[in-house]
Every structure is written in C-alpha cells, then in structure tokens.
C-alpha cells in the first residue's frame, strides 16, 4: 500500500467513526433528556397550562409517541438537516440554532487563538530557562490561570474593564452589522474563556519542548554549533507542537462547553445559552438539535486535528505514532 493509499484509508476510517460517534452521542443524549422531570407547557405557561393545552403541545412536540417512534422521527429528520419546528415560535429549529452558532464559534475560535498566541511563547520562554526564577514565575502564572474558574475570571474582568474602567462593554454580542462593536463585545468573553487554556498550552509546550530539546538529533545540532534559538525556532518547536495540536480538538470542545458560563455572564446569545435555556424550559427538540451540532463540531474538529497531526508527523497516519 502506498503512502497516499494509507492516508486515504486513515481518513476513511476516521470519517466512519465520526458518523458512528455522532449517532451514539445523539442517542445517549436523546434518552438522557427524557429522564429529566418536568414538561415544557408547564414551564412556559405556568398556571395557564390547562390539561387540554398540555396535551395539545405534547402532541405538537411529538412527545406523546413511543420513544422508538420519537427517535426514528428525530434521526430521519436530522439526517436531512430538518430538526422540525419550534413549538413556541413556529420557527424551524435549524434556523434557531444557526442564528446563534456564529456567536459561539467566534467566541471559541477567538479564545483558542488567544490561548495559542499567549500560551506558546510563555511555554517556550519557560523551556528555554528551566529551573530559573522566570520558569518558576511562569509556572505559577500558568497554574493560576488553569485553576481559576472561568466564572471567577469573567466576573473579575467584568468588574475591572467594564464597570471600573469603562473600557469595554458589559453585555451582549454587539450591534448587528457593526463589526467594531461586535469585536469590542468579544474581547472580555474571549479573554475569560482563553485564560485557562493559556495555562494548559504553556505547560504543555514547556514539557514537550524540554523533551524534544533532550533528544539526540537536537544534541547533534548543538554539536554542529547551531544556535539554541535556531534549534528551538526551526526544529524543536515544530515537534513540540504535535501534542499541542492534538489537544486543540479537545480544547475547542471544552471551549464550546465552557461558553455556557461565559455566554450567560456576558448575556451573549450563543449555543451554550440556548441549550441552557432550552433545558430549563424542557424544550427537547431544540436541545437535541443543539447537541447534534456540538457533537458534530467536536468530532469534526478532532478529525481536522488528526489530519494536521498526520501531516506534522507522518508516523501517525500509518499507525505508528
């Protein structure tokens, strides 16, 4: 088998596992949300929810069918991108989810970019001076970032930069159509979300870089008189980034999960706050659609990461990595 055939086989097997994982995760969550007590009509209408209305809305949501029927209906519709219609607003659920996804993706990707831009240099600096005061200080800083909950970071940033200094806005995602306003509204939530990952990435880069710098080929480079900065910049960092890239897929998933907290604190619309509110309202069809999107996104992100890793280190694609 040639290298390109092996890579194609690798991609095909990963795609097959993607489909199976999305189906499995969706099935699990489909069953789990139905174990939660409570019904949509009572939450939405309170004492106005008469038995007649409750039965009517339960029927409209398809919740009076058997579990198997509900699952089949959901799966067959979801496969064609049709998640049905929201029982309150009568809007297609797909539209409701697509309305908020750009906000969440902007938040997650900007946080990830920030984490990389800040985390990698910190890790490199620490690895270049292992055991020094600078290394210890950066270790303390990184661990502080990791251990401080996003909730706390959000509130502190909020109080300092929005309330105290009035530099940045407090709530929302900004005026639609005004990119600068959207960007201003993105700064605090992104920083709040990124900070923990700055810590993770810097520690990971430091450890990986130290391992790489101790390898034989690096010792050979040193013996040839190549400067330490060239060794790190041109050779060692590329290899040290393999585990960082591996963790990015998980990182994106985690950032989307953590976005629930940030979106609620900063009153941003997004998939996190949509899921949170839909669970509170027991609006199962919307929860299910959101979950499908998140699972799909998470898996695709991991797939892309695997591809990048295969490019960075061909041993992975042939199953030797």
């Amino acid at each position: 088998m040639t290298r390109s055939q092996r890579t194609a086989a690798f991609i095909a097997s990963r795609l097959a596992s993607v489909v199976l994982t999305i189906a499995g995760a969706t099935l699990l969550l489909f069953l789990m949300v139905r174990l939660v007590p409570g019904d949509f009509t009572s939450v939405m209408l309170g004492p106005r929810a008469t038995p007649e209305l409750r039965a009517q809305i339960t029927h409209d949501m398809g919740l009076d069918r058997s579990m198997v029927e509900q699952l089949w209906l959901f799966a067959s519709r979801a496969a064609t991108g049709n998640f049905g219609e929201d029982v309150v607003s009568h809007r297609p659920i797909l539209d409701i989810v697509l309305d908020v996804i750009p906000n969440t993706l902007a938040l997650a990707f900007s946080a990830l970019a920030l984490a990389l831009v800040v985390g990698i240099p910190i890790g490199v600096i620490a690895a270049l001076k292992p055991g020094s005061w600078l290394d210890s200080g950066l270790a303390l800083l990184s661990i502080s970032f990791i251990t401080t909950p996003t909730l706390v970071v959000s509130v502190i940033l909020f109080l300092i930069f929005a309330i105290g200094l009035h530099w940045l806005p407090v709530a929302g995602a900004g005026n639609p159509g005004d990119i600068m306003d959207r960007l201003r509204h993105l700064i605090l939530p992104s920083v709040a979300l990124a900070l923990g990952w700055v810590g993770y990435i810097s520690r990971l880069v430091r450890a990986a870089l130290l391992d790489t710098l101790a390898e034989l080929h690096v010792r050979t480079l040193r013996a040839y008189g190549v400067s330490e900065y060239r060794i790190v910049g041109l050779y060692a960092l590329k290899l040290a980034l393999v585990p960082v890239v591996s963790i990015l897929g998980i990182g994106l998933g985690d950032l989307i999960g953590s976005s629930v907290v940030v979106e609620i604190i900063f009153a941003r619309s997004g998939i996190g706050s949509l899921i949170f509110n839909s669970i509170a309202q027991r609006n199962y069809p919307v929860v299910q659609a959101c979950v499908v999107f998140i699972v799909a996104f998470y898996i695709v992100a991991n797939l892309v990461v695997d591809m990048i890793n295969a490019l960075l280190d061909p041993r992975i694609a042939v199953g030797r990595g």
Binding site: G38, L53, R54, V88, F158, A171
Partner: protein, 513 residues
C-alpha cells in the same frame, strides 16, 4: 502573501488594538432613542399564544385594542373604537374609527377584523386549537358584525374582568384577518398591527427594535422614533450594563437598591407589586389535615424575618391574597406575627410530636433563603422541615397529573392580573390536581368566585372578594409572604411608563423626561 512584522507594523497594530475599546463610547452620551433591557426574549407574537410579558408589552404597543389603558393607569379610553355603547350587561355596540391601517399593506381595520381576532379565543385557531390565553375572553359569547366599522360584543354573563384582563390587554389586540390568514404560523414571529409602534427588527436572543408607526391614526402617538430592547436574562448583568451606560433603563434586584440610589444621572423607580408569593399547605396530606397543625405552622413562621433575610427588607409583607390597590384587597386581614408559645400550645392540643414535613420550592437563592428561615422557625416548635428545591422545569410540572397530592409545604410564586378573579381562580376545587396545591376545597369559595365573575357592581364585588379571602384565612392553608416589588433604574433624561403592576410596560408612552 507574506506578512512582514516589523517595528512599524507592530506599533500600528498595537495602537489599533489600544483604541479599540474606546470606539463607540461617544454613542452612550449622545443617545436620543432609549436602549432598554428585557429579561426575556420574544417567544410568540400571536396575542392569544404569547408566553411572557415581553410579548404582551410589544403587542400592546404595536396593535390597537378597542380601548387602551391610559398611561400608568388601569382605566382606559377609546383607541381603535370611536365609540362603545353599553346596551345591557351582556351586550355592547362598538364603532371603529375609519382609516386605521394595518402595517405591511394589509389594509384598513374593519369590524370583520375585530370579529376574526376575538373569535379565535372562542373557537380556537385555524385548526381549532385552543389559544393559550383563551380564558382571558371566557365571558365573550360572540361578536356580530353589523357594518363595515360597527359590531356587537355579546357576553355569556356580565363581566368586569373581560375588559380589564381581556379586551384592554394584549389578548384584545385587533389583528388583520387577511394578515393572519396569509401568514399562517408565521404570526408567531411577525406582528402586523395598526398601533402606535411597529416591530422594526427582531434578532432572536439579542435584541428587537420598536419604531414609531407613521401611519398610526389614533390618539397615542409614540414619543420616540425607536426603542431598542436588549435581551439580558440576568438582572445583575443588565444592572451592570446600565452602570456602564450601555442601557438607559433596566429592572434590578432588591439587593442592589443602595448601589442604584448612588448612581449619577439616574432615577430609581420603586413600584409595589401585585403578584403573590405564599407558603401553601396541603390540607389533605397526613398530619397537615389537622387545622391546628396548620395554624401552629402559621404562628411559628416568622414572615417578617423572611422579608428581612430573603428579600433584603426591600419588599413589604403580604397579609392576604389580593394586593393593596386591587379591587377586593382585605385591608383588615389579620397579621400573623410570630408567636412560638401559641404555636406550641396548638401543637400540644393535637397531641402530635416529632412532626416532619417536606418544604418544596424553586432552587433560586431567594426561595432557598425563605425555606431555610422557615426550617429554622419550625425547628423551634419541634417540627422538622426537609427542603426539596427544584429547578423550574420540575417544579412547574407539579401542576400536572395530580403531582401536587404529595406536596406538603410549598413556596409558590404566582403572577397577578388587575382583576381579582384571575387570582382567586387558582384556589377553586376544580383546580385540585392542577394548580390548587393546597388541595383546599370550599364550595362556598367556588360559589363566591362565580358570583364575583358575574357581578358588575364594584362595592358588591369588593365584598365578595373580601369574603373569599376570609375563607382562605380560616382554612390556614396559606401563609402569605409578599406581593413583591419592582425596582428600575432609568437615565434621568428618560421617562418610562408602566401599568400599576410594574410588569406591564407601555412602550408607546415612554417619553423624554
């Protein structure tokens, strides 16, 4: 393309980033149209199927009703109607103003539109489904069209409530028959009206914009060109946002009152609520079936301490169902000030010891604080309380399938309307298994409720509702906690307007101070 990062590029980039936060701040000071916060998004704009106060407030400003609430009052004057003539207690003639145009090119409002709009409450929507707010028009039997602009409202029985909670409110919105038929299910997200404002834009989960309707022919022209409503579910966030001058008006929580009073260029608005929160006692459940046990619990729970501890002392305590200011408020209702000795004596009379009950409540901080204070109070008289805090989904599901039969003590927060019948309906025998979680059954109460619905004389109605509250008091099934209080901050240049409950906002009457 290769990007070269030199010193100059770096400095330019850094400068751009540094000024980024300042862009746009000039707008806050220069605003001439208000930006306000709402804690809930639009759910469904069909007046009969709305789900919250946000839609109600928007519908009232976008649509016309036959008669409209006056600014800040529950009295009303003609809006779409040129004249309404009472023929008898159950028959009213109405005549519409000519030339009232629906937005979106849906033509002029006629009596047909009134009939169509109100018939939906009687017959259901196009597929016969009952509307969620159908009960607001319960007293309406039919609408007859007698001319292009004229018609008759025929009632099943005399009803004061029909006007107050039906025809004046969002349920009374007159829709365009042509628009509803053409839009189908889209009326849930598209509001076609003929009122003072139009819904210019709605970005779900983010904001909506109401704009003055240039074609509005009625007497209540909107004062602002636009009002932007930002959806911010948490009051604490919207309050901070107000402090950062991103908003001109928001509600806030009682524990922020001192901070609010210290804000510059700000008015603090404090409106006593008409809602009601109470501890309901299930009169059918075990030892609670003994009225003396219920009376002992009532004497043992320190409502004043609850007001101080759970509500930061920022609201006043309630002593009966109907809030002050509402028709039927029982001003002389007894105030049960904590008396441990009386509670212990009553328990001794029953001979019961080691009583243990479950206290069910929502899992928010205020409800939990109420539960903990009640728990401590009852422990002093030898009653053990186990707290069962539930999220709203599970909690409100107790109103279905007779789930309330297992409740014992429950903290219940209900919202009110201006007519007392709306509040008393939840205590009827027919609501046992649904929303009467006390499961208290009084044929006399039920009879009075029906009398109250059908009586028009104000003094007689008042007496009826006071008698109903006396019956509730005798049952010792309810420990009234508070009617709530609504706090708002608004920029000094803005003058918001609300109906007296503080919940129903009148966007069309928002004005410059």
């Amino acid at each position: 393309m290769r990007m070269k990062l030199d010193r100059r590029t770096f400095l330019a980039g850094s400068s751009a980033l540094a000024i980024l936060p300042y862009i746009g701040f000039a707008r806050a000071a220069d605003r001439t149209n208000p930006i306000i916060a709402l804690d809930a998004d639009i759910g469904n704009l069909d007046p009969g199927n709305r789900v919250g106060t946000t839609e109600g407030n928007i519908i009232r400003s976008v649509c016309q009703t036959l008669v409209r609430f006056e600014p800040g009052k529950t009295s009303w004057t003609n809006d779409a109607a040129k004249e309404i003539k009472q023929i008898s207690d159950t028959e009213f003639d109405f005549e519409l103003n000519p030339g009232q145009m629906f937005t979106g090119g849906f033509g002029e409002m006629t009596a047909d539109d009134v009939k169509y709009s109100f018939d939906r409450y009687i017959n259901g929507d196009k597929s016969g489904k009952k509307l969620a707010y159908a009960d607001d028009m319960e007293a309406l039997k039919s609408v007859e069209v007698t001319g292009k602009y004229t018609g008759k409202l025929i009632l099943k029985h005399p009803s004061a409530a029909l006007w107050l909670i039906g025809i004046c409110d969002a349920s009374g919105a007159i829709l365009s028959k042509k628009a509803v038929e053409q839009l189908g299910d889209k009326i849930a997200t598209t509001l076609i009206g003929s009122g003072p404002m139009v819904l210019k834009e709605w970005r779900p989960k983010e904001q909506f914009v109401l704009a003055a309707n240039p074609d509005y022919k009625g007497p209540y022209k909107a004062h602002f060109e636009e009002i932007t409503g930002k959806i911010i579910p948490e009051h604490k966030t919207s309050f901070l946002s107000y402090q950062a001058k991103e908003l001109d008006f928001t509600a806030f929580d009682a524990d922020q009152l001192d901070t609010a009073k210290g804000l510059p260029d700000t008015k603090v608005i404090d409106i006593p609520g008409i809602d009601y929160t109470w501890i309901g006692i299930n009169v059918e459940k075990g030892d609670l079936a003994d009225i003396k046990v219920r009376q002992a619990i009532r004497w043992a729970i320190d409502v004043d301490a609850i007001i101080q501890g759970a509500y930061s002392g920022a609201t006043s305590r309630a002593k009966t169902l109907l809030a002050p200011g509402l028709l039927g408020n029982w001003a002389d209702a007894p105030l049960y000030t904590r008396d441990v000795a009386k509670a212990q004596a009553l328990l001794a009379e029953t001979g019961k010891t080691g009583l243990t009950f479950t206290f069910t409540c929502l899992n928010d901080a205020t409800s939990l604080a109420v539960a903990q204070i009640a728990q401590a109070n009852l422990a002093e008289v030898g009653i053990t309380l186990t707290i069962n805090a539930m999220d709203s989904g599970a909690y409100w599901a107790l109103g279905a399938d007779d789930a309330s039969k297992d409740l014992e003590l429950t903290l219940i927060p209900y919202t009110s309307k201006f007519d007392p019948s709306f509040q008393t309906q939840w205590f009827l025998a027919s609501q046992i298994g649904l929303w009467n979680w006390q499961r208290w059954n009084s044929p006399e109460f039920d009879k009075l409720h029906q009398e109250g619905l059908e009586t028009l004389d104000k003094a007689k109605r008042e007496a009826i509702y006071i008698n109903m509250q006396k019956l509730l008091d005798e049952s010792a099934s309810c420990i009234w906690i508070t009617h709530g209080r609504n706090f708002f901050v608004d920029a000094a240049w803005l003058k918001p307007m609300f109906l007296p409950n503080g919940k129903d906002w009148q966007f069309e009457f928002f004005d410059k101070a």
